[in-house]
């Protein structure tokens, strides 16, 4: 019952976008002996999940989702030192990248946030990532899913290069490839041999959840 009070405070501060409040709530929860993993999963992440669901239902804006994720980070900075040596259970591992020549970040980062809310471990390689780096990351980290983003029609062909690179390295069968970005159509995704084209961030994350179920 006492624990519930602290978890509620963490959750509420995330969905109320309260940067100071979440730090205070996190400190109090740790002082009171709330298990740090529980504080993250049932407190902070639960708050972010509420905002994520509202975003999915078009009841809140992207700006609010970004803010909630940032507030969660503030809370995490307090709780993180307490969870050393422990592991948060994940649904699966996803490698994300914006392909070479493309420096757009917003869409990919949004997908990363939504995946984390949904319980995935996300390895975000960043923007303008060369094909070889992506293939290497898949080889080393063995994700179940690779997400590729492009916002320019001139960089979309790099997605095909990545898929060909995975094939050449014998990695294609072991990883699902999901592609996204406003110019990327279903037809294009089929043409280059991707497994799925995300219509938007929410739909893409739902597909990832379906794949690891």
């Amino acid at each position: 019952m006492i624990e519930k009070k602290y978890l509620d405070a963490l959750r509420e501060n995330v969905f109320n976008f309260d940067f100071e409040g979440v730090k205070k709530a996190a400190e109090e929860a740790m002082k009171a002996g709330v298990h740090p993993v529980t504080a993250v999963t049932d407190g902070l992440a639960a708050g972010l999940k509420i905002v994520g669901e509202k975003f999915e239902d078009r009841e809140c804006f992207l700006s609010e989702l970004v803010l909630a994720a940032e507030v969660m980070k503030e809370g995490m900075s307090i709780i993180q030192p307490y969870i050393k040596g422990e592991e948060l259970k994940t649904k699966g591992r996803v490698v994300l990248a914006t392909v070479k020549g493309d420096n757009h970040d917003i869409g990919k980062s949004l997908v990363a946030t939504l995946l984390r809310i949904s319980g995935f471990e996300v390895i975000d390689l960043g923007i303008d990532v060369p094909t070889e780096t992506i293939v290497e990351a898949v080889k080393e980290r063995r994700p179940q899913i690779l997400g590729l983003s492009a916002l320019l029609t001139v960089t979309m062909p790099e997605m095909r290069e990545v898929i060909n690179g995975l094939k050449a390295a014998g990695l294609r069968e072991g990883v699902k490839v999901i592609v996204g970005g406003s110019p990327v159509t279903k037809e294009f995704a089929e043409k280059i041999g991707a497994d799925h084209r995300a219509a938007d961030a929410v739909e893409g994350v739902n597909k990832c959840i379906e794949w690891v179920r």
Binding site: F17, F19, F61, L62, S63, V66, L67, E70, G101, N103, D105, I106, S109, D128, L152, T153, V154, M156, P157, S182, P183, V184, T185, E187, F188, K191
Partner: protein, 376 residues
């Protein structure tokens, strides 16, 4: 109706009247020079040329550009040194920048700002100083020169930068960071917004008095990034102010709204812009063209042909443009741009110009069927 010149066709449409055909044009900065371009232009393709109408300077700001290992490999570090402090931004420039048109790379990409000038609360004061220090002076030579060269081949538009809040969101802060700053330091954000807004009155007046036919905000609006609350509070007042000044001088106001607009469609209907340029219906945008035309009854829409369709090949291009013509019958208040986002292959320019040469107005189902049959 006799055959209109390309300029007459575009201007008639921009004024909301029926031209002889749907205007088809390419932006000057993406226009290749060569055989296909000449053929397309001989058929029906006009030129849309955005040119600056002022020069600007900051008399009390030193701008230092550095390249090389000390500034980060592969990027250019720009320092803005003012008497009250320094801000920096980092650019990534692809091959061709400075050698091709309008700071575009060979493949038509502008330099990427990979690190923006406002990163922390103190930076707002420095940038505010820079805005206040900026001096704008009218310079109509680029517009007059373009008008002389183009003649009846197209139109020249006086180009304005992003509107004040978009300047902050896209250019100076970056959208995700902007959301956080707006929550944490709203006073700073709003103070800078007000200073830009006030300062821009000068360039609205310069643009309004220019010899160009119309004035354009290059706003790159996207309704997912800019929510309706922000749009109503900060974007619409800027549009209204600019429109008042521009309309007083008998000029049209155009905005470059190339993103997803479904979430803002009702508010856009209330905006004073005469023309929405770079409109992208699905598959790239989220608002169907027919719906936009029906909702924005007092506006002209210029559709940017989607790059994602170009990526699927010639047959897809042909099908898309025929479907588009069918969806807009009778075809009023509409223009088609070859692309607002990338270079277009010779083959695709020829396909579009072959079809649009035949798109005389008013369109009818029979006429579009006939155009389709004529393609074999």
């Amino acid at each position: 109706m006799g055959e209109m010149t390309y300029r007459e066709r575009i201007l008639t449409t921009l004024h909301g009247k029926r031209a002889d055909k749907i205007p088809f044009f390419h932006t000057w900065r993406r226009l290749q020079t060569g055989l296909a371009e000449r053929k397309a232009r001989n058929r029906c393709m006009g030129v849309w040329w955005q040119r600056p109408c002022y020069v600007e300077s900051m008399p009390h700001v030193d701008i230092v550009e550095r390249m090389g290992p000390s500034s980060g490999l592969g990027t250019t570090l720009v320092e803005y040194r003012t008497p009250i402090g320094t801000v920096t931004e980092r650019l990534k420039k692809e091959p061709g920048v400075g050698k091709w048109k309008a700071q575009r790379s060979w493949r038509d990409v502008t330099p990427w700002t990979v690190e923006r000038r406002i990163k922390k609360p103190e930076d707002y004061d420095v940038v505010k100083f820079m805005v206040e220090d900026t001096v704008y002076e009218a310079d109509y030579f680029p517009i007059e020169q373009a008008e002389r060269w183009l003649g009846e081949d197209g139109v020249v538009i006086a180009h304005l930068p992003h509107s004040p809040m978009q300047m902050l969101m896209i250019d100076w802060v970056g959208t995700p960071t902007f959301y956080i700053h707006y929550a944490k330091y709203r006073d700073k954000v709003e103070e800078l917004y007000r200073v830009i807004e006030k300062k821009y009155e000068k360039i609205y007046k310069i643009a309004a008095e220019s010899p160009a036919d119309a004035v354009m905000f290059g706003d790159n609006l996207d309704g997912v990034l800019v929510n309706p609350v922000l749009f109503q509070r900060y974007f619409m007042p800027a549009y209204e102010k600019c429109a008042r000044i521009v309309h007083e001088k008998g000029k049209l106001l155009i905005s470059h709204f190339d993103g997803r607009l479904d979430g803002l469609k009702e508010l856009i209907a209330k905006c004073p812009q005469d023309v929405i340029e770079a409109f992208h219906p699905p598959p790239m945008g989220d608002l169907p063209l027919r719906e936009a035309l029906d909702l924005w009854k007092n506006k002209v829409i210029l559709v940017g042909f989607p790059g994602s369709v170009y990526a699927l090949g010639t047959e897809a291009v042909r099908k898309h443009i025929i479907d588009l013509l069918r969806s807009v019958i009778p075809g009023d208040r509409l223009g088609i741009e070859a692309s607002t986002e990338n270079l277009v292959s010779d083959e695709h320019l020829l396909v579009l110009s072959t079809i649009l040469e035949k798109s005389s107005l008013p369109l009818s189902k029979e006429k579009v069927d006939e155009i389709e049959r004529s393609l074999g």
